[in-house]
Structures are given as C-alpha cells and as structure tokens.
Symmetry: C2
Subunit: 331 residues, 2 copies
C-alpha cells in the first residue's frame, strides 16, 4: 500500500513537472550541426576515411572512430600500426566538438589539433605529417579539392587537420529520446527512463555529467571516494602538468550514445553499462546503488542515443605513380 501510494505520488509529480518543455535541467539537447562550408566537410570526410594517411595504408580515422559503431572501435584500447596495442580507450568522435579539449588528458585544445595526433603517433597510424601531405599532394583530385576549399596551391597539414575537424563537427547526434523529452514530448521517455534520470540527478551524477554532451566539459579525478583499480598506467592530466594533484584526472567522457561506446572508462575495462554505473556511483559518489536503481539509470542512459550521422560513404581518389607507397610490413 505504502509502495503504491509513493509510486502514485511520483507519477503525479512527474506529470506536473514534465508537462511543458523542461527548462532548468542540467542537460540540454544536442542541436543539429550547421554546415557553412559543404566542400570542406566533404573533403574532411574523405580524409577521415582515407587509410593513406597511415604508414600502412590500412588505418584511417574511421578505423578507431568507426561511424558505424558509435564513433568508437568498441575495443578496450585500439589496434595501431603493426597491431600495436594502444595505451588507452579510443573516445567517441560523436559530439566531440562539444568537448572542452580533446584526448582523455585534454592535451589537444580542439578537434583540429587532435586530428594531427594519431597520424604521427608511431603506435597509431605510424606516419608523419610530411609524408601524409606528400601522399595527398600526389593525387590530383585532392590537390584540386584543397585548392577549392583553401584557395592555396600547396597542401599543408594545417589544412588537412582543419578539414577533418570540419567534418567531425558535423558528427553530432540530435533527437535522442531524452532530447525529445527535454523539448516537451512526454511520451519520448518511459517511466523507467524518467525515474533513472531523477536518480541520475539525485545521486549526483550530473555534478560532472551535464551540459549538452552530458560530460566532456570538465576534468575530474577517476576515483574520488575510492581508488579505481586498473593495470592501465595512464596518469591523466598529471602526465602533462607533472602535478601530483592531477594524477588520474581525466576529461569526463560524454554520455551521449553511451549505449554504443562500450567498453567503458579510460582503460575500457567494463563492457556492461550497468557495471559502469555501479562503479561510478561507488568510486566517485560513495554510493552503493541498488540493482533496480542501476537498471533505471541504465534505461535513462540509453535514452541518450541520438540520431547517428547519416551520410554517403565517400569515394576516395586513386593514387598515382607519384604517390608514396604504403608500407604495411615495414616496422
């Protein structure tokens, strides 16, 4: 009886609270991308899919930020040149334009700076910026596209990463059920999702996971109340600052499309969203959640899956006799 009346109260409160567009929520809707330079976006899309930006001719941006798979590779850590095991989980490229900085430790200020990283990282694409530019400059259709977009005769790595970033800015995922609910569509969320969202706020998750990306806008220590146990040696921001206070401080990942971006955390150690919720509540908030609470929060989190980027697979211009050849088996 008591249970029933509590439930009834919750429902009536929900109806009262959610009848109009939600105004003062800690999470805001994702807005569709506004494309101002379609030619640059198209060029960036080609580059994003072009494995010739890697030494092997086999690995493209899309290899580890697979747009068929939530903009990630769904592996604990990525596979790089010569099948090297990457040091950290590959973050989703979806909605990454909303991040305050890029990489887990924020060492790149923006998407453009980020895009240059993997190309030249010996453990990732294993190439150099000069060689990547040499490849592109040997392909007349690329030369033409760069000329049209950048009004310059010479391709530079600055332009390459700028175009990739411009494409990546289009990779937002609007119209998630949660966003529809935020905009006033009461039926867009199930009762469990609504209850999960309430818990998500009440428990304190929104302290870090807030804003349109439900994260991505601050650095926080992984393991506040309790230490996070991992074999992964990554130290987070401390690796850049050398400051002991920054140890295990990482950029808070976006929870947008979190249903698609398993496995979770910087070490990719947790495959199930329920487990990840449990770990976060305990380690960050000192709260041991009940199974049913975890289930409801998980239902809410799945309502953050938005419309995935929909685009035509790019066709890449062919190499020429002048194009430096890929070297897949040269270490």
């Amino acid at each position: 009886m008591l249970r029933l009346s509590v439930l009834a109260l919750t429902v009536s409160m929900s109806v009262a609270a959610f009848a109009a567009p939600q105004k003062n929520e800690p999470i805001q809707p994702i807005e569709p991308a506004v494309v101002t330079n379609q030619a640059k976006v198209e060029l960036g899309k080609q580059l994003f899919f072009d494995p010739r930006l890697s030494k092997s001719g086999f690995i493209s941006c899309n290899s580890c930020h697979n747009l068929s798979m939530g903009g990630s590779d769904n592996l604990p850590s990525s596979i790089g040149h010569n099948w090297q095991e990457g040091p950290i989980n590959s973050p989703t490229v979806l909605n990454s334009s909303l991040n305050l900085a890029q990489f887990w430790d924020g060492r790149a200020a923006d998407l453009k700076e980020q895009a240059g990283g993997p190309i030249a990282n010996p453990m990732e694409m294993g190439f150099t910026h000069d060689l990547a530019v040499d490849v592109l400059a040997s392909i007349p259709q690329y030369v033409q596209s760069f000329k049209e977009v950048y009004k310059a005769d010479k391709i530079t790595i600055d332009e390459v990463t700028d175009a990739i970033a411009e494409f990546e800015k289009t990779l937002v995922t609007p119209n998630a059920p949660f966003d529809k609910w935020l905009k006033g569509d009461e039926a867009a969320l199930s009762a469990d999702a609504k209850a999960g969202y309430k818990l998500f706020k009440d428990v304190g998750c929104t302290a870090c996971h807030n804003g349109p990306a439900v994260g991505g806008n601050s650095f926080q220590k992984m393991g506040v109340v309790e230490a996070y146990e991992t074999n992964n040696p990554a130290e987070g921001v401390a690796g850049l600052t050398g400051d002991d206070l920054d140890r295990f401080k990482f950029k808070v990942p976006t929870l947008r499309n979190v249903e698609l971006t398993y496995p979770y955390f910087h070490d990719g150690a947790y495959w199930n969203l329920e487990e990840a919720v449990d770990v976060m509540a305990r380690l960050q908030l000192g709260r041991k959640l009940e199974k049913e609470e975890i289930a409801q929060i998980t239902v809410f989190l799945k309502s953050l899956t938005g419309e995935q980027p929909s685009f035509t697979m790019p066709i890449l211009p062919p190499s020429t006799a002048a194009t430096p050849r890929p070297q897949p088996f040269v270490k």
Copy 2:
C-alpha cells in the same frame, strides 16, 4: 605525310564504325543491379561492414574490400588478424558477381561460398563460423533482421554469407565512359581511348579480357609466352587440382575500375597500370608494345571506371552483455 594519312584513315574509319551503338564488341556494358530484396541487401551491408565477424573485432569485409577504394585495399597483399601478411592480392569486390568463380584460384563457386572464407581464415579475420553466428545471435536487432529476411528463428552461417553475397551483388559499376560509348555516345571516349581500345583488341587482350566484366570469366596461365617472375608462392588452380597443367593458372581478373584496384596481379607487384599493360603484352601475348601504345591502352582502361556504389554508411546494432567479446590481442 604517310603518318598523317594513316591517322586520317583511322579517324574516318572510327567515325564510320562508331556512329551507332556498338553491336559486336567483345566487351558488353555493365548493367545496374536489380534489387529484389532490399531488406536482405541492407542486412548484408551491415554484415559487410561489421568487424565483429572477426576475432579481433577490428577487421570487416570492407577492411580488404574497401568500397571507398575500388572495392580493394590497394595493398600488394592484405593485412589479416594480428597484422599477418596475406598470401595474395585482395581482388576487388566490385562487379565480382560477374566472375565465373571466386578467389584467384576459383575455389569458391560463388559469392556466398566466398564470404565464408575470410571469416574463418586464421590469416584473415581469424574467427570461426560458429563464433561469428554466436556474436550475431547475441544482438537483438540482428536476430530481428535475420528473422524478417529468412523467416527462421535461428541465425546460420548460411544466412550470414547469403546476405553478404546479396549486398555484394549490388556492387556493380555501370555507366563507365566506355559503356556510354558502347551504347552510342561517341563523345564519351577520347580519341586516345578509342585508339587504345582498338589496340587492346588488335594485340589480343580481349582473348581473355572480354565480357561485361572485361575478365573474370576464365582461368588462364600467368606467363604464357614468358614466365612471370615473382616471389609469391601461389600456384593457382594447381593448388586445388594437383594437376601440373594448372600451375600458375589464375582467374583472369576483371579490368573494370582497374584504375582504382592497384597494385596489380595476384602478387600485387605492379603499381602502375602502364607497367601492368607492358608485362601482360609481353608475357601473355609475346608482344613488346611501344610506349605510346601502352599509353593509349591505359587511357582506354581508365575509361572502364564506372559509377562507384553509392550508399549510406550502415549503422551497426550494439553488442549486449551476452555478446562474446572481441579478442584482438589473443593470438
């Protein structure tokens, strides 16, 4: 003077011969695919792009038959599980439905049989058919799609490869300049392309490279007049039959989109189309072509680049707690 008059004669003959649709040519146009089961094609497209059909969760059909790159990987031989070096050049999937059999040695009768090969090949996707089916059966959206397409409750490898093959059958490339010319558009080919085509026939290339796919419809010995020098140990059809007469007999590759499918031959040893033309003429036909002849044939060959498949990048359904996890770093 003599040269000029020969040229004039050629031109006037060309005009006379090419005024109407070409009737009795050894090459026929590629026709657009007729899709009778769109749901099956869509399912096949997802599977073609799904790296979860590999042990690593990293390699999909599209990794080595990249539809952004002429349906090939543009590498001498492919990169397989754990970065293993494949034994042979990855043939293009474009127009592969027109082949009389699949693989260089024709060991698979059709696309469906072919599709099962790389999944279970330890050097390629490194998985097993059972595990691939287990992965798919753990994903509700796949279970639903298979149920809709095959009217059965249980996913089988037979259905998996059938759906992949159905998608691959759509990967034809109609409306190449050469096809437009075949259909009567005189302006679709340059004078050099027409001269190159005439040479292509006169020299004897069409003995093997004929039909809509300009190849793919017979097995021939590599190195008829002169032996082909290579370090590649592949023996071709002899590997299947044990018959010494079948040594170095390979399926004649299609020349459709040959501009995009470098490097050439079963060992991927030649990157430039001009060199490949020279080698073929010498080794197969005993003919040392002049540089200009090679150039003209190459121009003709580039007129075989058709409309590349244009489709929306598939979005893959997420794994669940029940999905067997990828094992990228287990050998």
